[in-house]
């Protein structure tokens, strides 16, 4: 993948900006229930575990594990050249929070289920896309 490939960007709103702009300070953030600690993703106004409405952005370690992946070979977009890895990463703090993402800075053939990964951000305009690379 080129240094800055083409990416469709997300629509940033007050509900999701903690996520899409956390990378400005190198932080991967999720909404967290302030009463029970559950991380709520995608963002929602009510904690699905205890139904609390007290939620606030929380910065996690950025570490995770590849739960599954695919090597995409289809050129869907000009400026985003295959092959590249689309992965579903489970974050270290809570396995049921998953991100579809890309595993970068790594030979596509090296990606495996169970691979330990670490977040890295790619800035486009006002958005920091959370990608993952093999953990150091």
């Amino acid at each position: 993948m080129a240094d800055k490939p083409f990416r469709v960007l997300p629509k940033v709103t007050s509900d999701n900006e903690h996520f899409w702009r956390g990378g400005e300070t190198g932080e991967l953030r999720f909404l967290q229930c302030t009463s029970c600690g559950y991380l709520v993703h995608p963002p929602a106004p009510v904690c699905p575990r205890d139904l609390s409405r007290q939620l606030a952005p929380h910065t996690v370690s950025g570490r995770g594990t590849v739960a599954t992946y695919t090597v995409n070979h289809q050129p869907w977009y000009p400026g985003l050249d295959p092959p590249y890895v689309v992965a579903i990463v489970e974050i270290e703090e809570q396995a049921d929070v998953r991100l579809m993402t890309n595993v970068v800075n790594c030979d596509v053939e090296k990606v495996r289920i169970g691979l330990a990964v670490q977040v890295t951000f790619e800035q486009h305009d006002d958005v920091w896309i959370p990608l993952f690379e093999p953990a150091a």
């Binding site: 469709v8 629509k11 940033v12 995608p42 739960a67 695919t70 090597v71 869907w76 579809m100």
Partner: protein, 409 residues
């Protein structure tokens, strides 16, 4: 429960029957009016049942009228009602259903409840014409992200499009990869979904791809999103399919003995999501399949023909497991070699060639074929018997619905 009735509930769908089926021409780039194709199928189904349009008092369709993705819908309730000047007591059309056949299941519930007597159910697509010579139309689902510029992704698509994963091919590939990892499933096994479909398509004059395909052909095909290659992906088509769902006690005097609806499955108990689903080797069809068997005394071994959604080959494998035709994780060995799922096998599967070879009629094609087989009208591809019990299932990811159908002497 010994009578196949869930505790405390009745099996209301048994108040419904299927009395007619219809289909338009099916092909690549037919350049026909989408509404024209739709009406061909609808009028065909009405006549097939031995009804006239004056008898139709309900409509059910998936996904309703929508312009995007291109070709995804050929018509909605409004266009068909108005074109045929139908007088309706009940109708529904939309996307948020248990899969494409969720619309048919809605119709079953409506006739059983007495809201309508004969419901025209249809699904029409013209993706082949709509995509023209451009890339596959359905990948822009969520708002035409291919153009770049000022478009920004919202909703679920914000979690996939920024990562170059705009297609269900990518999402289903992730499930397939996890299944391969946990159970040792191989491409050589998965191939038999595609090879079986192609073999059956050779006996279906309306199928789009009918030339023989070998395992070597399959393994040599270009990869789309590993482990899925080109032949694991269905073929965009133009075509419409319709079925008539009738109140079971209003079928006397119709053209042929109706097909009985024995049970349906509509459950989704995990998170309604492609990427947050709990078990990445299953999908919502796990729950829909389990629910179906909770509503009947019939067992998987009673099924004589299975028509299981194959938008991608892996989905069919997952349906085989979800419906208990084999154990969880055993789908690979079950289909290996292809004998078991062949027309003369113990569980004939996707007998018209499925969406992989016959064309992406998006769910309704499986129900149409199940009915054709039960009525013994399968022609060259008829399963001997004919079979008396069939399953039709549609959907993948967080979409899943299935019907168990019977036609007994």
């Amino acid at each position: 429960m010994t009578d196949g009735t869930p505790a405390g509930a009745s099996v209301g769908e048994r108040g419904a029957a299927i009395t007619g089926i219809g289909q338009s021409d099916v092909g690549r780039r037919l350049n026909r009016s989408p509404l024209g194709l739709t009406l061909d199928a609808c009028l065909d189904a009405i006549a097939d049942a031995g009804l006239t349009r004056d008898d139709i008092d309900g409509i059910a369709t998936y996904p309703g009228n929508m312009d995007n993705p291109p070709g995804f819908s050929g018509a909605g309730v409004v266009e068909v009602q108005d074109a045929l000047r139908l007088e309706l007591d009940w109708y529904t059309g939309g996307l948020e259903l248990p899969g494409q056949l969720g619309s048919v299941i809605d119709a079953c519930v409506a006739v059983a409840a007495g809201l309508a007597t004969h419901v025209l159910c249809f699904r029409s697509v013209w993706e082949a014409t709509a995509q023209g010579t451009k890339g596959r139309a359905s990948v822009t689902s969520g708002g035409g992200g291919g153009g770049g510029g000022s478009f920004r992704a919202g909703g679920f698509m914000q979690w996939t499009l920024p990562f170059g994963a705009p297609s269900a091919a990518n999402w289903i590939a992730c499930y397939a990869q996890r299944h391969f990892h946990e159970y040792g499933t191989t491409r050589e096994q998965l191939a038999h979904i595609a090879l079986n479909a192609r073999k059956n398509a050779g006996r279906n004059p309306k199928a789009i791809y009918r030339d023989p395909m070998s395992l070597d052909d399959y393994l040599a095909a270009r990869m789309i999103s590993s482990p899925l290659c080109l032949f694991d992906c269905d073929v965009p088509a133009d075509g419409a399919t319709a079925v008539i769902v009738s109140r079971a006690d209003a079928t006397a005097g119709l053209r042929r003995r109706p097909i009985d609806v024995d049970a349906v499955g509509t459950a989704i108990r995990g998170r309604p999501s492609w990427d947050q689903w709990d078990d990445l080797t299953t999908m919502a069809l796990r729950d829909a399949g389990a629910m179906l068997w909770d509503r009947t005394d019939l067992r998987p071994t009673d099924v004589g023909v299975a028509e299981l959604y194959d938008g991608f080959s892996f989905i069919t494998l997952a349906w085989l497991e979800a419906l208990g035709f084999c154990g969880k994780g055993e789908g690979g060995p079950f289909i290996d070699g292809g004998d078991r799922i062949a027309l003369d096998g113990e569980l004939p599967l996707n007998t018209n060639g499925g969406q992989l070879s016959a064309g992406r009629l998006h769910g309704y094609g499986f129900l149409h074929e199940a009915c054709l087989q039960l009525w013994g009208e399968g022609g060259e591809r008829q399963v001997p018997g004919p079979p008396e019990v069939a399953v039709a299932a549609a959907g993948g990811g967080p979409l899943a619905g299935c019907l168990l159908l019977t036609h007994r002497p």
